[in-house]
Amino acid sequence: MTAPAATPPAPAAAPAAAPDLVTVNIDGHALAVPRGANMLEAARLAGVDIPRYCYHPKLAPAGNCRMCLVETGAPALDPATRQPLIDPATGGQKINWMPRLQIACATAAAPGLHLRTTTQAVRDAREAVTEFLLVNHPLDCPICDKAGECLLQEQAAAHGRGCSRFIERKNVKPKRTQLGPRVMLDDERCILCARCIRFTRDIAKQDVLGFIDRGSHSTLACRAGRPLAHNYSLNTVDICPVGALTSTDFRFKMRVWFLKQTDGIDTESSAGVNTTVWSREGVIYRITPRRNDAVNDTWMPDSGRILHKQIRAENRLLAAKVNGQPAGLDAALDEAVRLLKKAAGAPSRSDGSPGAAATTTTADAGVAASGTAPNPQSAIRNPQSLHLVASTRATVEEQYLAKKLADALAIPAAARHLPAHLAAGDGLLLTADRAPNTRGALLTGLAAGLPAPALAALAADIDAGRARTLLVINEDLAAAGLTAAQLARVRIIYIGTHANPAAAAARVVLPARTVFEKKGSFVNQQFRLQRFDPAIPGLAGTTDDLVLLARLLAAVTAPAAGPAPAAAPHGINAIWRSLAADTPVFAGIEYATIPPGGLPLAPGPLAALPFPEGESLHYKPQLFQLAKTDAEK
């Protein structure tokens, strides 16, 4: 039985070469795998789970835990003819089995390689390693944060002898060593797998960890004067197979089995790191990386793990406001619509078609109406006084609705502003573009060019009195360079999550939701479309951004004498239908079918824009653009 195996993911930028497949045999099942493939991974493809501790798919094998010992063999060859020998007992190929067990994690796939993982010798070895790992382990699972997701716990249950023969005193080691600001070490739990050392040395390129002392008394420690303080330190906690390394933030907060896992995206930068958001009863307890071999492997920055603390931050906007006074959402929306229409000028009655008016009562009112609306350019006059400040931190869907809204309000390109969020990239997973969705703004047509670092043009328009009304979507205008005096000169409609000078100066404040409270998608630096789901319900007083935008859109496109805008929809699927129809790059995509690992888009000429990102983990600017150009040919 020869089954073609899934090839392991190739590096994103490299053109996929035809893999050199070899046939190996694992527990009697033949399968084709790339030559040199890791046999522990190959076994996984064959449905054979080989237990391991020190092996990690994204780290160089260390071979020190000895848990993955298996029997290996190769076909016996006739010394004269070099032809495989036949075993008369079985009629099959004669296999020369190695006398010693070998570690699967450092065994590379070679033609005819045979593996046996279920023999008595293998079972004995696993039981022995398990017993050895447990003799000096404190077995404090009831108070250990790792319990429930601990490799030692799981594999001890599967492969251990179930009782202890150890009556000696256990080793005593330091229990609470603060390795860095975010990582705590309990050395007694450590099984010395060296995953953390290899990660900090090889991935984070900060060789700060090492073992001191010797033998069973070996102790993990930081190099003198160099704490584990880099922005990737918490990955060591993720990959620690036991509870030796724990996050000071998550420590003793919650048992992991109570937590719900939701797919998220790190919004810190355009890398689009895939995350898992762990929550319970509307509270997020931690964020960990979610494996995506094309984006972030199994890593994420520490800084992205605390973003959930913004949800209940003191400056969170939790009530709609009109002229600084709390107002109902409907009232605030009405006031926003009034200001927008006033700034844009009333739409011409003759342009409102009866059909459009009728569709505004359907469930997907905002989208349907905008999709069939008459040309907004003819409907609205006096556009220059109304400016839009949109966000590269908004989702694709929100950006699309913002674009529709700007079209409906006839806001010209010169009056649509997109502040850039730039900082130095770290070469790994924090890129120079510190917003998750710059590509989305370009692809949806919201922006025609790259975001500007400062809103100089807008500032000039305000000073000149040309810009009088601003629709601001979740951007801090003060941070983008506008002065308090400038903010005081304009009427601001602010849709956003947190208080800032623009929100404080706004005539209308519409509280929106954080990325943890809504669903949507981002397009990362690789033009990879990635979706995320709401981890927790939105806080009371906030409204989904899509609802706010859809209701504004419905209202400004509704005929002046028509029926009142219908209740706005949670219409992400409808938005996608419209987006796919409007925008060729999204054609054929539905929100629900965006795969968990993301969907690479073909951006066309946009890829050639001078994006600010340098090289990072799975992104090489030049290579990426070349590959895209080739694909277009």
């Binding site: 071979g63 000895r66 000096n136 090492g210």
Partner: protein, 450 residues
Amino acid sequence: MPDAPQQRRIIFQHIDEPGYTPGIDCYLRHGGYETLRRAVTRPPAELRDEVKKSGLRGRGGAGFPCGVKWGLVDRKSGKPIYLIVNADESEPGTFKDRYIIHQDPHQLIEGVMLSCFANDVKQAYIYIRGEMPRGARILENAIAEARAKNFAGPDILGTGRSCEIHVHRGAGAYICGEETGLIESLEGKRANPRIKPPYFPAVLGLYQCPTIVNNVETLCHVKHIIAMGGAEYAKIGTPNNTGTRIFGVSGHVRRPGAYEYECGKITLGRLLYDVCGGPLPGRELKAVIPGGSSAKVLRFGEKFTLKNKDGSTRELAMEDIPLDFDTLAACGTMGGSGGLIVMDDSVSMVEALANINAFYAHESCGQCTPCREGSLWMKKITARMVRGAARPEDAALLKSVAAQIPGRTICAMGEGCAWPTQSFLAKFGAEFENYYETRQNRPADALPLI
């Protein structure tokens, strides 16, 4: 010693001679560096062939054929080839290399230079055990002398070929004697042995370059092989166990010391009784560890049934074992480093094992699980036994723990730490089972055990 067999001194030819000093002038007066002078014009492959023909087996412990080891070196990689002299002699009971270094350092340096010529090596390192500061100083001096006479350094003897030797002092760990651990240590890292595959020194050794690691005594033999020719050398000793070996005898014999004999030409009994003078007065020999403390112990009075080549079997008394690699292996132990540790009937095997176990638990590098945890567990058991808390079931437990280690570790220390326990239990099991009672009868004023 009327009855003692004559030593065959090749390595020890001049050692202990009155007036023989470690200086280069003395070495040159005794024909030193003549072999090198004659060999530098010969093609390297020819020199390698001599070593291959000699059948020389490594004297560090494993007895791996030196010619085969050199044959495995990747010579096509384009990377430099390194030679490392393993002078980390740390195996308890072994003291031959230090003796050579102290008494006759130029013999080693000539062997090193010949091996470097044979293998196109331009940089050699002598990794010397940290606890041998005097040896390191002697070697430094000797290298300076050899350089001054143009036997080392640039343009050696006008050949246009260069080779430097550096002495590197270890930082004091048993595991630095394991060749890949040694390489890591030489690179300035913690001496954790490397996984093989992929890090076979012959391909990915020092600085990821092809590397030869040979024991001090082995490289000294190379000098004599090149001098007399591989075929001639192969006539010394017995087939497949060629040349001479230095046996370092320590423990409960009248004349402990280092003796050089042809491989397989002297039996264990002759060595211990006739050469070393037998047990101390009023004592009887009880056990001997034949190849450094990790080798499996032999019990006096033991009999072995060995297979002959024709398939028949023969009985062999322990005293009649010829001291060569193959017979010792057939008897379930090993020639190892040639360090024999002799114990007489005053020794409690439990206490002796407690001592050995304490050593291995202390020296396990801690990298891989079975050795790290197994050695310490065995130590804790034997230490508890000698503290007076032995249990009848400890013998079986020790046996079981020891069986869980060998064959499953990164380096050979798995075997090294388990074999003593396994063999002590196999051969002196009753002592372990009855130790609880023995311990009770121990005099109150006896010396502390560990």
